[in-house]
Symmetry: C3
Subunit: 231 residues, 3 copies
């Protein structure tokens, strides 16, 4: 497990940052909440999705954040956010592209997080945990900051399961002696495919309460409130 410290190539790391920044900005540009995001808000979401995964990973590993050791990370994330903002009206029509980008971004951050954790000597289970946190952390920060319900906590599209599965495949293959690059590629493929299949077939986890066969309360409200942003 204690091989010479695994280094993610800068180009790969910056690619993940750029894809994250692009995807985050397109998401944020399409955001319609109670209050609108301004330019800066959209750029911040892009930077956060692009850099959040790496920051969370390095905080959990208690190492100096690699994203703050070079000018390139922030410049890349900011540039990608600006491109995302400018192309937002085009890209939002290409919904499949956004979903695909998002799947790839969580796969990349998950794989980088897990391999760095393994390289630092963490056991398998926490290495997978660090990868999963790096994969979904940017999205959680985004949801909290814009005041949306946090996506991974709710009945949805197996977001965190996809991330965790890929990290588990990576760590498992590595434990059986598969070279880290091959294991990382396998993990990235697994996460991306699970996430895309979940979106395509609209799979979701059963709700907790179905376990108890409780009667579902009638969910119609006495007054239907038409929120302006839904109208």
């Amino acid at each position: 497990m204690t091989e010479p410290i695994f280094v993610i190539p800068l180009w790969a790391d910056l690619t993940a940052v750029a894809l994250g920044g692009l995807q985050g900005a397109v998401f944020a540009a399409g955001f319609r909440g109670q209050r609108r995001l301004d330019f800066l808000g959209v750029a911040l979401i892009g930077i956060m999705i692009g850099m959040g995964g790496g920051l969370i990973r390095d905080l959990l590993l208690n190492v100096t954040p690699v994203t703050l050791q070079s000018n390139w990370y922030l410049l890349t994330a900011t540039a990608a956010s600006l491109v995302g903002m400018l192309l937002a009206s085009v890209l939002t029509r290409l919904n499949a592209l956004i979903v695909g980008l998002d799947a790839l971004v969580i796969a990349l951050f998950g794989a980088f997080g897990t391999s760095k954790a393994l390289a630092l000597g963490l056991p398998l289970v926490p290495a997978v945990f660090v990868g999963a946190c790096a994969a979904v952390g940017g999205g959680v920060l985004r949801d909290v900051l814009v005041g949306l319900p946090v996506a991974i906590m709710h009945v949805g599209s197996l977001y965190a399961v996809a991330a965790t599965s890929g990290c588990l495949v990576l760590a498992g293959l590595h434990a059986f002696g598969v070279p880290i690059v091959a294991a990382a590629i396998a993990g990235i493929v697994v996460t991306t495919v699970i996430r895309l299949l979940a979106v395509i077939f609209d799979v979701s986890l059963p709700e907790q309460r179905m376990l108890h066969r409780r009667k579902v309360a009638v969910e119609t409200s006495a007054i239907t409130i038409i929120k302006p942003d839904e109208a």
Copy 2:
């Protein structure tokens, strides 16, 4: 203050993690917000309550998170969450048990946080602060992630006061030369008892604005909105 680094025994740490995971999952299973939590969301809450305190403590102390140095923490938290989920319908009827577990969990995380901080040479006041953050941090994360008002910020049951008092007793006794284990036990008892008494007698802090003797605005709304999840 700079005694040989104090080590929390693994069994004690894992007991706190397990109790936290159990309590978190039972809470989450009973959660009825605008959107429901799925299995994964419930498990995540359990893991977060079980491991959040230790993670926050180690982040504040800038040491490598001990909960990520071994497979046992995550496995314990996950197993406890699953047990909590399966037994939720039974346990929610035993409300006293849940409140008791919760009081014990914050007491344990507070005591572990303060004693680790003292062992690393922190002065008394920040050591108490680290303990209090470790004690209530998991609950704050939970509230933010599920979109509830953050409990410790609002008129409630002296949650943070109970945690801080126990940590203060621990650190104070330690400053007077009481052995750390005895001081920790005293701190755990103080936090648990204050918290339980606060729940039993429904004590809360006065509101800020009562200081100013401002007139309380009439708090009836023109339209009563019946939310589905309250019906």
Copy 3:
């Protein structure tokens, strides 16, 4: 860039903490949300605004939080919060004072963050980022904990732009060989002035969607809901 480690004098650091604590408590005392803050909640907001900037800076830099190395930081933040609470009804009438304090606090935290990052050898862009995060971080934490929309994400008063500009001036001057103290003073002045001008002239960034010349949906709701706390 690798000059002997720059040390922020304790009195300057504690002044920033005290101003932050004061300003945070006055803000919190005036807060009227769905649920009210109690004494402890107000004190927590004060402590968070006073100490949050320094904590976030040190977490990002992966150094032991300086605010936890001495009793003075927490004692100062707590005392300032209590003063803020007691004087809240007076101070809220002096709105200009609060806005001025707030501008000065973000300027101080931004300057301290950027100069510490530069002293630790970070390149210019991430040093500015750390300063900006230290400047606005306390406010973001506050908004998340009390359940407000996060101010810097929304059309507002150029909050983050003011912070970033001052940090950029500091780091730019330092790169051209200006001594760090002079550069820090210039940065503090720039942030304070931009922030005050933005408030006075009510400047805000254009909204993202104006880029696309989309038609603005009619924003009137079918039912006007009068919330109690707005009445």
